[in-house]
Symmetry: C2
Subunit: 113 residues, 2 copies
Amino acid sequence: MPKPASVTKKTAVRGSRSGRPIMALLDLLGRRWTLRIVWELRDTPLTSRALRIACDDASPTIVQARLSELRAAGLVELEPGDGYRLTALGRELEQTFLPLHRFAERWSKQVSG
Amino acid sequence: MPKPASVTKKTAVRGSRSGRPIMALLDLLGRRWTLRIVWELRDTPLTSRALRIACDDASPTIVQARLSELRAAGLVELEPGDGYRLTALGRELEQTFLPLHRFAERWSKQVSG
DNA sequence: TGTCTCGCTACAAATAATGTAGCGTATTGC
DNA sequence: GCAATACGCTACATTATTTGTAGCGAGACA
């Protein structure tokens, strides 16, 4: 059951068939380690290796793949000599995630007991 | 300190080694279709089949798997006769996602243009 | 030179997702 | 009663993604 080319292409985001940016974004962020990577870059640039370690020693394959996607999406950039960091746009995104930290605390308390 | 069983066991989330709820949450949400499912339930309950269709005809296997995870996480519940819907906690989470819609619009304009 | 680290890639094995079919259980209409 | 339908959910083979390990070429440092 083939999907349209725009969705089958490697770089494209699933769910973008609709042309609704939110779907493309949800898809991009819903890939393994993507949210985590944005999170780890939230307040400091990290080299690719430091990032891997920060992400529970995720494999370089997937970290590089996610970084490529995030760079293509204009959310992350590579500052030579400094490592990866969020772009201005990436920082905007990260801002929308700040309440998530607080929520996570509430959530873990409510789920565990 | 170890997280509650529901977050440390096999069913639970990668990245929870640290015991930091945010990691567990980021991992849970960073699984394919999870964000999308929460999004689709944002303002109306949906039956499992309606949800599949809303999610670009995702396979029932994965939708059911994600729903199980989200139910175990206390974010989604099944109301018999009504379908799946966000719990109070799930609605709190969804609230933190609202700015995402607006961001997605900004993002798509900046990336494509 | 040798030894670092950097960003990044290759590649086989393991794991997860996909697409299709169908189960058992209600609920409806006849 | 009895199909027809929709529900939540599962089986399973195919395909895609992720993982883990190893290592490349380039640059900095000594």
